[in-house]
């Protein structure tokens, strides 16, 4: 898998306990093209070590669809890290 040097701009959202834990609801940033959603999360877990423990009890969405962690980001993506849902 070839990783190009180009960066893509994405928006990242956090909700519920994850948002509370790191104090960020939304931010935009640039990532190397080809970065996987799992790698995006790892970047945040490095910044916020407390986040790492939640990896097994959350899901991720890309452009408002639940996504596999191996999914690669593309320019303009909206990525969201979602704790277990508890509506109703």
């Amino acid at each position: 898998m070839v990783q190009t040097a180009a960066n893509v701009r994405v928006k990242v959202l956090f909700f519920g306990r994850l948002r509370e834990l790191i104090g960020i609801a939304e931010e935009s940033g640039e990532l190397p093209e080809g970065t996987t959603l799992a790698q995006v999360f790892e970047r945040y877990a490095e910044r916020f070590p407390k986040l790492g423990g939640f990896r097994g009890s959350m899901v991720v969405s890309r452009n408002q669809e639940f996504a596999a962690w191996e999914t690669r980001v593309a320019a303009g993506d909206e990525i969201a890290f979602l704790p277990p849902v508890s509506g109703g």
Partner: protein
């Protein structure tokens, strides 16, 4: 509102609808179904009324409201938050699914966000159908699926603290190799 209003009598005016669906009007809702997130009290009776048409013989409703305790601890109030755009999309998917799976007529599905006190309705679903069986089945499917797949989160506040409700992990798709 974008209601089909042929041969129907309304017990509430346009103002009531405006408040009911607040800013969620016109987000691609079909003529038939009412899907919304609101921050004010849900108008349960109006929603139950709005799904019924002449061809229907039954309306089944689900009224989810705030319980006064959680795991033996007295609840003071709840706060709900949502990934709003995705939540609306997922609720519309559920409506589409129950139309496909069951012989129903119309669906109303509204979830409230923000602070809710004990006894207040957090989610209300109404499903009409020519015959009751489909309405019961569809309403049950809708609330069960909403609780598993719609990105809404509940925080429970107690006299001595607060916790995020445990919740359920939505099913995710199998590995996708590339972003496309």
């Amino acid at each position: 509102m974008i209601w089909k209003s042929e041969n129907r009598k309304w017990k509430f005016g346009k103002k009531a609808w405006k408040s009911l669906f607040a800013k969620k009007l016109g987000l691609g809702m079909s003529d038939e179904d009412k899907i919304a997130l609101v921050r004010e009290p849900i108008a349960n009776a109006a929603l139950a009324e709005c799904v019924r048409a002449g061809k229907d013989g039954a309306t089944v409703t689900f009224d989810g409201h705030v319980r006064n305790e959680s795991h033996g601890r007295a609840t003071s109030y709840l706060e709900y938050e949502a990934y709003e755009a995705m939540a609306i999309a997922k609720m519309k998917e559920i409506a589409a699914q129950i139309h496909e799976k069951f012989a129903i007529d119309r669906v109303a599905m509204v979830h409230r966000l923000g602070r809710l006190d004990i006894g207040e309705t957090s989610v209300f679903i109404a499903v009409s159908a020519p015959h009751r069986g489909a309405a019961f089945d569809a309403c049950r499917y809708a609330i069960d699926t909403l609780k598993k797949t719609v990105p809404i989160w509940k925080k429970e506040f107690f006299a001595d603290g607060a916790v995020w409700a445990e919740g359920e992990l939505p099913p995710t798709p199998p590995s996708a190799k590339s972003a496309s």
